[in-house]
Subunit: 404 residues, 2 copies
Amino acid sequence: MTQSQAMIEYEAFKQLGLKLDMSRGKPAPEQLDLSNPLLGELGSHLAADGADTRNYGIPSGLPEARALFGSLLDVPPAQVVVDGSASLALMHDTLAFAMLYGVPGGKPWSLQPVTFLCPVPGYDRHFSICESLGIRMVNVPLSASGPDMDMVEELVASDPGIKGMWCVPKFSNPTGAVYSDEVVRRLASMKAAAPDFRLMWDDAYRFHYLGERRIAMANVIDACAQAGNPDRAVVFASTSKVTFAGAGLAALASSPANIAWWQGRSAVRSIGPDKVNQLRHVRFLKDRAHVEALMERHRLLLKPKFDAVLAQFDALLGDIPGVRWTRPEGGYFIDLVTPDGCAKRTVALAKEAGITLTPAGAAFPYGRDPDDRNIRIAPSFPSLPEITQAARGIALALRAAVSG
Amino acid sequence: MTQSQAMIEYEAFKQLGLKLDMSRGKPAPEQLDLSNPLLGELGSHLAADGADTRNYGIPSGLPEARALFGSLLDVPPAQVVVDGSASLALMHDTLAFAMLYGVPGGKPWSLQPVTFLCPVPGYDRHFSICESLGIRMVNVPLSASGPDMDMVEELVASDPGIKGMWCVPKFSNPTGAVYSDEVVRRLASMKAAAPDFRLMWDDAYRFHYLGERRIAMANVIDACAQAGNPDRAVVFASTSKVTFAGAGLAALASSPANIAWWQGRSAVRSIGPDKVNQLRHVRFLKDRAHVEALMERHRLLLKPKFDAVLAQFDALLGDIPGVRWTRPEGGYFIDLVTPDGCAKRTVALAKEAGITLTPAGAAFPYGRDPDDRNIRIAPSFPSLPEITQAARGIALALRAAVSG
């Protein structure tokens, strides 16, 4: 490829005048349609135990909703609370409560400087919470099987200011990394200088497969308990990419002590979650088998989009030195790695061609990719023809950026 | 009344073996039934502007939901954000954000001791938020037309540590007080030593009449703006006692600067509220006229219950020196005032007779009623026969407490 060839192809693509937003991992309308029974008549508003879901109360969520999430997350229902639609809000509040009050075993975090370890590339909204709360962030390299555990163990053992770590253990956003059982075991059992160290375990993609292989990960809550660190892990999950991204359920699961702590803090904040929506979800999702069947229908909608992106990248980027990309078995993203110093330029050129991508650097704390080389590709929302064209445009933009 | 008569009547009532919970202001099932269309088929999930309510986004709430609350609260829609079901959560988060980050015009409140003024008797959950966050509370006497403004003005002008004040301006919980226009004007215009002083304006009962008189209160946001204190008032409202107590909508209204502040802080917490439920509500409630018509149906269900309580109290307590009670024109509560030192004993005797009341003292910061004389009566939830019997039991318990 010569410089002029790459620019000519890119300029020609620009003339198409596209307008596509691939900046976020939003489910497509046809995925949301799979859960349209949630829009239908509820029938009885009474929970299984006769409770009126319309009224105040039941602050930890309907028993049947806790049982459903317990089954999905392999934890006892008593160790799960079910709340509104956003697991992000549960993560935010966990850290806000930690700053204001401390977690079991410690003082308020706001009394001293607090640091979090952040496997990178990672999820920008996790990092925004830390940045907002003034929690310092330290990058940790993330491989396909999890974070660099030698580095994590050394840092966590030596620095009592390190109070926590963000983890997206399965189909990590954006690389698709899956933490190995060995990584989970080491995270659960490693020595922590801070007695109130927490793993913020965002299990966002537990059932979100793209390929055929099914992966049963080690249970982090059990692993922590067995290692004598029962309160270390706080697990978050939601139905955002199962039912409705904006109107689903979110859950927090952890040790009995952490759940009691959460219940105490959140009882001051609200008299209870939207239990009508919880009842709708329980009746629609029914049980783990039905959730898995629903996720298979999502998979069939998502896989062709990922395949289309990979096919364009294979065809157009296979010959560019220093360019690589992930081939995730699940989750919502592809991580496109450019030669050093080319990500921002690629995103800018794609934008000129009508394709909005997540800002380069967003997958790193403070928005700073030290090598300016990671681009998060979110294939879920556009239609298959759109995503095919967009992937071609991104590849052409990268070729132009590299050659320019 | 002799001591033995009072005890004999109370003991006879106890033998009935009742089991009634009147501790909270929960709507009755027949009130919730008024909004059962919300349980029905939604129809289209598209908002007026075509937005897909099922997906992520629209963090400040659906435009039509903001317009509805704007119309209900007499503020421009741009100055309203609409969120999940609990206005209590919006109040909590306002104060938690203030502690962590400060409000426009000030530093984080957590950097110094913070005091709130609390008109008493007041709402226990307001006080719980302050107690949880370590905000010191100072009692201010509340009359039928609002707090003691001479005291408020003097305290707020002299102490920069006083950062805010709780206000339930209309049909105050539990006394039914209605702030006069003069009180609203003085609150809006008084000199505050703290530049970041805030009125936490819980407009919980704006449309919740029991009597025939309709009361148009002064608009506190306008009053603050006119007085040169545009960011002073933060207004909270919800449909908790309009539609479903546990599955409604909540709103926060304030100045443009406070709304921008809220949007910035809450954007870190969540990608957006449950817009499907917002769409359901907008389609069901339609506009202010429909809300008022719905509230009239609530009124017709509630008024006989309040009348039944008042009739029992008139009959059984009219001759007891030092006993009085409110006759509210709206809201959810009656404040029963016993002779000094008799409230706890009355609540305990009622409990022995199977009637659970809000704990004596709950309407005061730290649960301490300095005169031990206020009992909050919540007539909404039990049926009319139950409430009649319960009111009789409470009156007999009070007679026994006074004579014993």
